[in-house]
Amino acid sequence: MKRHLLSAADLSRDDALVVLDTAEELALLANRPIKKLPTLRGRTVVNLFFEDSTRTRISFEAAAKRLSADVINFSAKGSSVSKGESLKDTALTLEAMGADAVVIRHSSSGAPHRLAYSGWIRGSVLNAGDGTHEHPTQALLDAFTMRRHLGGSIDGRRITIVGDVLHSRVARSNVLLLATLGAEVTLVAPPTLLPVGVDGWPCSYGYDLDAALPKSDAVMMLRIQRERMQAAYFPSAREYSRRYGLDARRFGLLPEHAIVMHPGPMNRGMEIAAEVADSDRSVIVEQVTNGVSVRMAVLYLLLGGREPAEVSA
């Protein structure tokens, strides 16, 4: 693996499989009374969050602590830090504290790249979501979840990702990772919410959700932000929901074995109906659980070793 994890494109097929296999091993820890390994004892992991995301921060924090790392949470939101030079100054401060890895969440696309390649810090940089660019550990935990439910492999599986692809870092990372792992990915969205150049992505795309669902082994619903209406991406929440929401009728179009995913937080009644989110084929809560194992695996591989961890039973 590379020294940093900034994009799902940083992962080769072998890298990705090592992460997923390592995460399987580490998941076994969760069933033990003492959920902790000494692997990263004495290493410092900083959670640098310039954007509110309690769930992602907690997930990384739990992952680092279960590997016995020292964890520093640096929430830049609400402090004097806002933009510009302060990213650099914050980075220099963390470097002075001896951070071995920095997990960064930032509203500006590319901020993790700047942190990794500007010479400000020496440690590994882990992208925990940057602007509308990428969120590679989300893609890894999604792949981990799919693999568990779809017969142990992603190869040849048909994955449909629905919604605001244009603004979604989750969609970008998932398209790259799932293609690396051999899945057939289809994006479904109103044309306004597909980026220019999507025809060059390693996936297919369309505008008709009803047509895509019967051919899906998994469907991932993306969060839609109501404020997109102001920029005329779609006329109204109701119309969006009617054309692109996963309601009970559309849920019935899925094959029996297909699973329903959502990166959270959900807008129930908007992109996903409550009864679908709560159905037994929804793996949304499990995605959160798997997030800890996958992030442990990534931290372990970036900081600890190159071989999969072994957890004696």
Partner: protein
């Protein structure tokens, strides 16, 4: 320091070697094998190319208001070191150059620094806010004698205001230089809209946002019979529109920046804000179209859009960074690489696009000339491509009596750009670390050297 200079063996416009005698601010004698006048200072120019002093239609000097980024003095020194003898200073200062008082201040600062002639550009609208016309006539009548008006940095997007401005400046032979960018189509825009903006997750700045304004404005200029100049043209589609408008005989001129002739949007994948500029770096196909348009004269001029920013405005994440790049000291070497080494322009063509035509568009007397007659060459007429072909017949020579604004350039040299070594107060050059061909050896402003041996004289 003025005195008499004997420049030996310079190839004027890349022609045959000849000597130049510079005295009293003009070319006192020109031709091969001249005798050295008594008391003249000698400058051995063998192997060097002599061009008329370069004229930049688009410079941001930042003073007044952002003296931390650049001052008139530091910016004009950078200009002289880049081979320029005149620059047009854009009005997006603080306060904006929208009154006779501010344009005169900038003009006087330029005269006091003495490196190049500073021609202030006046704002089209009060405060560059796009609401009401600034006092264009007062700026035209001021000591700064403003002839170019622009809200550069922002587009004059209101079509009625644009029409009125185009009409109004006819009274003093002015020209409106449009920053063509539809503001609604470029809300929050960060980079060229294309495949890369989609994968990088950066908001796109689509070509159509430039082209739609150019299409509207050439039609407006034709309708009211006014001169229109298009700033920093960046797309192949814009080139087509300008070619069409010129084919109609409309009074439309255009400029391209050196960086748009050499760099593409692929550089943005580093997320290094040194590549963040407005209009953004475009595709390779756009770069080739811009080069072809500059070669065939569809684009009249190279203009730097020299835009200094302090380190903290670039040493940050992409979306927080300022738009803009330094350009004055790298312009001629970049044009050398993009246009001369590719065979698209010869040195007469470079002189035409970097000196003669920009001076004519800006109605700047005394610059961009090889001749000694009093008027502006082609004054009032439209610049035509290939106009300099006749210079071959004249053996590419300055005429006796021509203003001694010239640059001596060593085409055989090359250098690696060191941002810290540039004269600008800022460091935001996208060419740092690149090897560029050629180097400016000397610059003369009205017979007085401003640069000798590549250093301030």
């Amino acid at each position: 320091m003025t005195g008499t200079w004997f420049v030996r063996g310079a190839r004027v416009l890349g022609g045959k070697p000849a000597d130049l005698v510079v005295s009293d601010g003009v070319i006192a004698d020109a031709g091969p094998g001249l005798a050295v006048p008594a008391g003249a200072q000698l400058l051995d120019a063998s192997g060097l190319i002599a061009l008329p002093g370069l004229v930049d239609l688009h410079t941001h000097l930042r003073e007044p208001g952002r003296e931390d980024a650049e001052t008139v003095e530091s910016g004009t020194l950078a200009a002289a070191l880049g081979g320029y003898t005149a620059v047009f200073a854009m009005p997006n200062t603080d306060p904006a150059a929208d009154t006779a008082g501010v344009v005169e201040q900038v003009w006087r600062l330029g005269a006091a620094a003495g490196y190049v002639d500073v021609a202030p550009v006046g704002a089209v609208t009060v405060g560059r806010r796009g609401e009401t016309l600034a006092e264009l006539g007062a700026m035209a009548d001021s000591a700064a004698a403003v002839r170019v008006f622009s809200d550069d940095g922002d587009c004059v997007s209101d079509p009625l205001l644009m029409r009125r401005a185009l009409e109004y400046v006819k009274a003093f032979d002015g020209v409106v230089a449009q920053h063509a960018q539809d503001p609604r189509l470029t809300d929050q825009a960060q980079m060229n809209e294309g495949p890369l903006s989609g994968t990088l997750g950066l908001t796109g700045w689509p070509a159509v946002a430039e082209e739609a304004i150019i299409a509207r404005d050439v039609l407006l200029a034709a309708h009211v019979g006014s001169r229109l100049h298009i700033c920093h043209v960046s797309t192949a589609g814009s080139v087509e529109l300008i070619r069409w408008a010129k084919g109609k005989g409309w009074q439309v001129t255009a400029e391209v920046t050196p960086h748009h002739l050499l760099l593409t949007d692929q550089l943005v994948s580093s997320y290094d804000p040194v590549y963040k500029v407005n209009p953004p770096l475009r595709s390779g196909a756009d770069v080739l179209a811009l080069r072809a348009a500059l070669a065939d004269g569809t684009i009249d001029a190279v203009a730097t859009d020299h835009a200094p920013h302090p380190v903290e405005d670039k040493d940050c994440e992409w979306s927080a960074a300022a738009f803009g790049m330094l350009g004055l000291q790298t312009a001629l070497p970049v044009v050398h690489q993009a246009m001369v080494e590719t065979g698209l322009l010869d040195w007469a063509g470079v002189a035409d696009r970097m000196s003669i035509r920009p001076a004519r568009i800006g109605r700047l007397p005394g610059h961009g000339r090889l001749t000694g007659d009093g008027g502006l060459p082609g004054y009032g007429g439209l610049p035509r491509s290939g106009e300099l072909d006749r210079s071959d017949e004249l053996d590419r020579q300055f005429e006796v009596g021509a203003p001694a604004n010239l640059v001596l350039y060593d085409p055989a040299a090359s250098w690696v750009v060191d941002a810290a070594a540039l004269a600008s107060k800022s460091r935001n050059t996208p060419f740092a670390g690149r090897r560029l061909p050629g180097s400016v050896v000397a610059t003369f402003l009205r017979g007085r050297p401003t640069v000798l041996d590549g250093k301030p004289a």
